[in-house]
């Protein structure tokens, strides 16, 4: 266990053994990331070359990877609107705003030279929202752009300018839930050398996305919320993924695989472990990163590109459907005979009980 992780000793399960084949030598984790980059880039190049027509931008995040792994037909049937970023909403912005607000809170404490106070969720989020609108002069500068800039910050600032209190309140609610759960599960004070990702403020954050080649339409985006430990060539750092709710536990290993691979691609160094936490259960699952996990992550990532390439000439094809409880919410159900058959058969059971 890396020293920074001592505070996170898992009360919900025994730690996993060290990753097999990892000695911790400097350069080993870089080599693993290099090999992964080469392998993923090669597969993606083949998939793009094999597509019947050029495909548009492909965003590869966890949700797309999970959708493809769950039911390829459904993913392909979503069409361009489903494949693209759907635009910010309060439920979607909860984690991003919570993370940004926590980063701002830590940054403010860092500037003051005092240890950060326990962040009261709503006060912390309101503080970040105010900082979005505060000119640089407020922090000692000479005017200019707002202190904080991010895509989600711009969206919140727009909602503020529009007087959209419903959206701002809903964002405070979802972000507050994320922040409270994160701090409760990780513990306070936060472990030393924990760095929030995709958030401004110190310490410097590593890259969080990767393209297989310059100008490639494919962008792989990691969804980890934080890193634990310094990113060095020895790879003795963890990635941390916090989930507010977890319907089941089966996807934990896939989530860890995706984030390990996406992290290795983006950062250029393979993490030692992925810590997957859950707000609803309070669980902290540690998953050691080894070649098998990176291979699974690679398959999840390239699977998204494969299905996008397939969608160009085949689109939705019910023959590839993988029926599951997700069929109940699927907009394509009416055109999917395997899905309809599942609903009429096994789907009559819900949550382990028959529906009369």
């Amino acid at each position: 266990m890396i020293p920074e992780a001592e505070a996170l000793a898992d009360p919900h399960g025994a730690p996993e053994p060290p990753p097999p084949g990892r000695s911790g030598r400097t350069g080993e984790a870089v080599g693993a990331a290099d090999r992964l980059r080469g392998s993923v880039a090669e597969r993606i190049a083949d998939l793009l070359a094999g597509a019947a027509h050029p495909i548009g931008d492909v965003y590869v995040g966890w949700h797309a990877a999970r959708d493809v792994a769950t039911c390829p037909a459904r993913y392909r049937g979503q069409g361009p609107e489903g494949w693209a970023f759907p635009g910010w909403t309060a439920p979607l912005a909860g984690a991003s705003v919570g993370r940004a607000a926590l980063a701002h809170h830590l940054d403010q404490a860092d500037r003051s030279g005092l240890p950060p106070a326990l962040p009261e969720p709503f006060a912390t989020i309101r503080g970040w929202m105010r900082a979005l609108r505060a000119p640089a002069a407020a922090s000692g500068g000479g005017g200019g752009p707002p202190l904080e800039r991010s895509a989600v910050g711009d969206w919140v600032a727009d909602a503020w300018d529009a007087g959209d209190t419903a959206t701002l309140t809903a964002v405070a609610a979802t972000a507050g839930r994320w922040l409270a759960g994160f701090v409760r599960v990780i513990g306070w004070p936060l472990p030393p050398k924990l760095g929030l990702l995709k958030a401004s403020g110190p310490p410097p954050t590593p890259p969080t996305s990767w393209r297989p080649a310059k100008g490639s339409p494919v962008k792989v985006d990691m969804g980890a919320d934080a890193r634990l430990g310094r990113v060095t060539g020895a790879g003795r750092f963890w990635l941390l993924v916090h989930r507010v709710t977890t319907r089941d536990d089966a996807s934990v290993r896939d989530r860890a695989a995706f984030e390990a691979a996406a992290g290795a691609l983006a950062i250029g160094v393979s993490p030692a472990e992925v810590l997957v936490t859950a707000g609803d259960t309070g669980d902290r699952a540690r998953v050691a990163v080894d070649e098998d996990l990176l291979d699974r992550g690679r398959d999840l990532i390239t699977g998204v590109v494969r299905e996008r390439a397939t969608a160009v000439d085949r689109g939705f094809d019910a023959a590839d459907a993988a029926p599951s409880p997700a069929c109940r919410r699927c907009e394509l159900l009416a055109t999917c005979s395997p899905g309809e058959a599942w609903i009429a058969g096994p789907g009559r059971w819900r949550g382990g009980l028959p529906v009369l």
Binding site: A90, L118, A123, A172, G176, R177, D248, D280, L353
Partner: protein
Amino acid sequence: MVDVQQPVRGRPGGLGQVLVDALDAAGPDGHAALGADRLAGLRGLLDNAARSAAAVGGWTDAEPLRLSKHLVTGLLRCPRRALADDAGASDEIVMGLVVDAAAKLATTSPRQPLTVDATLGFLAALGETTVADHLDAIGDRARLFTLEARARVERLAMAWPAIEPAWWPRIEEPVRVRLGGGAVTVAGRLDVLLGGPPTGRPAVVVEVKGGRWYDGMRADGHLYALLVAMRDGEAPVTAVTVVSDGTTQVEPIRPSVLDHAADRLVEAIRVAAGVAAGEPPATRPGGHCQHCPVRPDCPPGRAWRPEPAPS
């Protein structure tokens, strides 16, 4: 026998004062922690019940029994009704959603005027369309429905207190507990949760109900107190049930309350196992028959009549 504090009606200061008093009583120094041994005992009881039931019901960690507060209550009240497909949202259920959302809005944004319009806007911003869809569906009745909703929201607005930020008010706090190695999961979203780790204050569970007070309403707060206790390793100190008819129930979470909640959960799991194994679900007529979607096909339900009010 669970020790129950009497429901509060028309108390000077109203709900606001009741809730503030409850929080004061639950302050950092007022929490008599439930022992870890006791919580471990409850978990052991529930794990054993879940394992035994899974052997009958055929559930596994990959395909578990998923229980919610509604299903637990339903399985105990009338299994046949609990297993019936949802018939869509009734006026009563949707009114509950409005009141519930108003309380959450008041918790999140205490300075904002609490109105029906603000509440509907808040729901829309959260992507929750049930209320808006229902208003569209009921056509001309929407006006009367909205008038009633306005009255209930205004009553709540007059009473809902500003909660000190140090309590870390959270709305729709998710909680999920796995039992029997994951073969049974019990999950829910608390309307409002105050305190608890890492605030240094004991947790207070707040459940908001849109209808009229009846004693069975307390069970939801008890179940959530049990789930939070098992998740956080600390039992909440109080469960508060706020009802839109003006009733507020403040109930200290004593060990007997959690024991009772665990007993109910064990019984619900046992009933579920029988049904999953192929037993016909029992039918237990009662007041719930009035809104039951399977009543036309249920002779005992059709025969049931409310008792005449005492003259």
